[in-house]
């Protein structure tokens, strides 16, 4: 008696199978040779999801060597791309997004209940069955920190040449140039580059570009917030350090322009929904320096007001700004030595740091909070442009 077995078309279970000998091709097409632009319009972090689906199949067939090998090749591939493109913000941001996403996938599908609270039942079916990849998660986390540091370095390198001219030298407030101290030659930190000067709009344009790239690539919002906090700190430090060294910008009018510029930056943060980042708080020393330039500096009451306002500036910084302060015209008096002594006496109990300048290279520690995805592996489509036809959907 013949038995006919009706075979049901097998559903895609969100795994990708490949032959061991195709691993190098997989890493080449998906990592080292990939151009982020080729994936425009696809799911953000697609390479990370594809890699997870490959790891999952190797786990499913209980092939520990295949898992080891793929993860090692992938990590080395990412490092190679980053080394080659070490001044490319878009590429670095792309691999930060994907490395973090792969790390999140290894947590979300680890089988650890702590990481599964937001999973759907279908997502729980896509967990690893055989292997615990905790140690590889640590490697990916360390790699993410390295990529984040590279990203900040690139962004700082692009912003830094703009800061002094945009924040301290450019006059966007109408009529302010008439009330600038006279007798100073216009100086620019970028004089070596000819007459290149920047306005605040250039900084904002550059930050818009960073923000758009990171959002489009699906970088975790918490990381984007940390990037801007770091960049705002650098803007604050570079601007304040220049202010502390240049007599020609220690004036009432620069204080006014500076306060206006900072408010424009705050406005930008609000417009991009980044005001929760702590970026404005990192600007506090500069905000206070701008106010110090504008406050009256004559009576004991003025001294009291300055001391209670300038809590984010050290005594040394306050005194330096007062010493450098340049009257606008013959009607405004210089800050007297007696006034500076009053300030010093009032602040002597403060336990301030000794150094005058801020460390503009200081980096805040970065955190990568777990951010599970609502995407289900079996819904992911692999576009033909990736040239990954050798992957079999399982």
């Amino acid at each position: 008696r013949q038995v006919t077995v009706q075979r049901k078309e097998k559903d895609f279970q969100g795994m990708l199978e490949y032959h061991k000998e195709d691993e190098a091709l997989l890493v080449r097409n998906l990592v080292t040779e990939l151009k982020p632009q080729a994936l425009a319009g696809t799911v953000p972090c697609l390479p990370a999801y594809i890699l997870y689906m490959c790891i999952r199949h190797a786990d499913y067939v209980n092939d520990d060597l295949k898992v080891h090998s793929l993860l090692t090749s992938t990590i080395n591939g990412i490092k190679k791309v980053l080394k080659k493109h070490n001044d490319d913000f878009e590429m670095t941001s792309f691999w930060l997004s994907n490395t973090c996403r792969l790390l999140h996938c290894l947590k979300q599908y680890s089988g650890d209940e702590g990481f599964m609270t937001q999973n759907t039942a279908k997502q729980n079916e896509h967990c690893l069955k055989n292997f615990d990849l905790t140690e590889y998660r640590q490697v990916l986390s360390d790699l993410s920190i390295q990529i984040y540091q590279q990203l900040i370095k690139i962004a700082e390198g692009l912003l830094q040449p703009m800061i002094v001219s945009a924040m301290l030298e450019n006059e966007s407030i109408q009529g302010l140039s008439g009330v600038k101290p006279t007798g100073y030659r216009k100086r620019s930190s970028s004089m070596a580059d000819g007459d290149s000067s920047y306005c605040l709009e250039a900084i904002i344009r550059q930050m818009n570009s960073f923000h758009t790239i990171m959002c489009d690539q699906g970088l975790d919002p918490e990381i984007i917030l940390q990037v801007f906090k770091q960049l705002f700190y650098m803007i604050n430090a570079v601007t304040l350090n220049n202010l502390l060294l240049r007599k020609d910008v220690c004036s009432w009018s620069t204080g006014m322009q500076l306060r206006y510029n900072i408010s424009q930056l705050e406005e930008w943060l609000r417009g991009r929904n980044l005001h929760q980042s702590g970026a404005v708080q990192t600007m506090e020393p500069l905000i206070q320096a701008a106010q110090l330039l504008q406050l009256k500096k004559k009576t004991p009451e003025d001294a009291e007001a300055i001391c209670s306002l300038c809590t984010a500036l050290s005594t040394q910084q306050i005194v330096k700004i007062l010493n450098l302060y340049t009257p606008l015209n013959e009607f405004e008096e210089r800050v007297t030595v007696a006034f500076i002594r009053t300030i010093q006496a009032q602040l002597q109990e403060r336990n301030d740091p000794q150094q005058l300048l801020l460390d503009f290279k200081h980096m805040f520690p970065v955190l990568f909070p777990f951010n599970p995805s609502s995407l289900t592996m079996d819904s992911i489509h692999i576009p033909a442009c990736l040239n990954l036809e050798f992957l079999n959907e399982v």
Partner: protein
């Protein structure tokens, strides 16, 4: 009663620095 899942096997991984050393020495070995 619900079947308890089999415990997963921990895959040992080199640290990022060790991986770097391995790649460097491989590169040095290759002509």
């Amino acid at each position: 009663s619900a079947q308890r899942p089999r415990p997963r096997v921990l895959l040992k991984a080199p640290t990022l620095a060790e991986m770097e050393e391995m790649t460097t020495s491989e590169e040095e070995e290759s002509p």
